[in-house]
């Protein structure tokens, strides 16, 4: 599984960090999301998919 964040779309809601802490984090200065682990282990798939589905800015893509 591959995880991407479109930082141009991200609105810094922090929802992805609530859903999958460790895979996502937010930059201190502006809250924009960063991907900490762009190929997380499969046992985190559900969390990552929740993060993508719950992102209010549709900024997260999951492939594979």
């Amino acid at each position: 599984m591959k995880v991407f964040v479109d930082q141009d779309r991200c609105v810094a809601s922090g929802q992805c960090v609530f859903a999958a802490d460790g895979v996502f984090d937010q930059r201190d200065e502006d809250g924009i999301a960063v991907v900490l682990d762009d190929s997380p282990p499969d046992d985190r798939r559900a969390e990552v998919q929740d993060a993508a589905a719950g992102c209010p800015a549709v900024a997260i893509t999951v492939e594979g």
Partner: protein, 412 residues
Amino acid sequence: MLRHVVVVGASAAGLSAAESLRSKGYDGKLTLIGEEPHPPYDRPPLTKQVLSGVWEPERVVLRDQTAISKLDADVRLGQTAVGLDVSQRTLRLGPRTAGPDPARREPQSGQAGTGVEQLAFDGLVIATGVRARRLPGSELAGVHTVRTLDDALALRSALLSGPRVVVVGAGFLGTEVAAAARGLGLDVTLVDPGPAPLQRQFGVRVADLVAQTHSDHGVRLRMNSGVTRFVSTEGRVTGVELTDRTVLAADVVVVAIGAVPATEWLADSRLPIGDGLECDATCRAAPGIYAAGDVASWYNPRFDRRMRVEHRLNATEQGSAVAANLLGADQPFAPVPYFWSDQYDVRLQAYGIFPRDATTTVVHGDPSDRRFAVAYVENGTVVGVLGWNCPPRDLRALRQLVADRAPDLVGR
């Protein structure tokens, strides 16, 4: 067993409901009906990236064609639900006015001649959102509202001719429009009957700072001023008359005075309509009939009250919750509402609720640094937190106070 679920409203909440039904394993027939001709798109960027011109309008689309096909749904755009018969479990749909497939535009069944089609369902999600509230005179050229993509594009092109802009209503939309118009270098006046922008939403403390921010950026504020009428020449607006009889000259007027739930089509359904479609804690309005998004009023057990939330995240979360409940989960929907607004270099982020009689305490940073958070306390518990460019880690921790309904912080 559900065999046909219909989702009315093809925007954030409706799309979330449809996708969640599929991801939770529903494999029956699915129909998604949306009045607008556009495929589902996102509204928050309309008053931000679209008005400012930072984004091409195509970027607001919520899903590409592949993702929409994956829904395996009959997606009917440009078609309006005009009535609901709860006991017969049928919808009445108006004629289809747009859509990618012209062959489908004719009604397939129903009463010939009236153009009205009957559609039977056994599960229904109502996600029709809200419509912009208007003022008398809204039909004049130069008077705009911003709810839809078409509205935003029309306003964007009007702003490009360098008009004098008067924004009526200093809520979220009005303040964002004022900021975007100032960003384009326009002459902007913001009018509101309240004492400061966003005061109704967040109280005096934050509102004074919002007012300051807008004046610092060159917006003229006319607070404590109602609008009595629009002045016009030959069908085009030329000014806005205020309650004190002064007339503000204007080439473009943006009316941003809130929205009304799109429930008019449910008037004969006998479903309970108040401020929105009234549902129980599981977002159910009647057996097999649920509501999600801006149109839904439901009882949120976390805050022990009925609410209706016009926030983007709620549309997604509630859409997903009603999909689960339609499939039998029967769980109360008890979110901590979340909202953001971007104006100039300010990002406001709000968790929870902000009752008018709540007391406020600064719980992070210092308002004079323009990086802080305020907690809202009601009856001894924290019910809301508002961050103003608040660092993300601190804001997430503060959200927890709201989720936990932490005791009063005053004096800590």
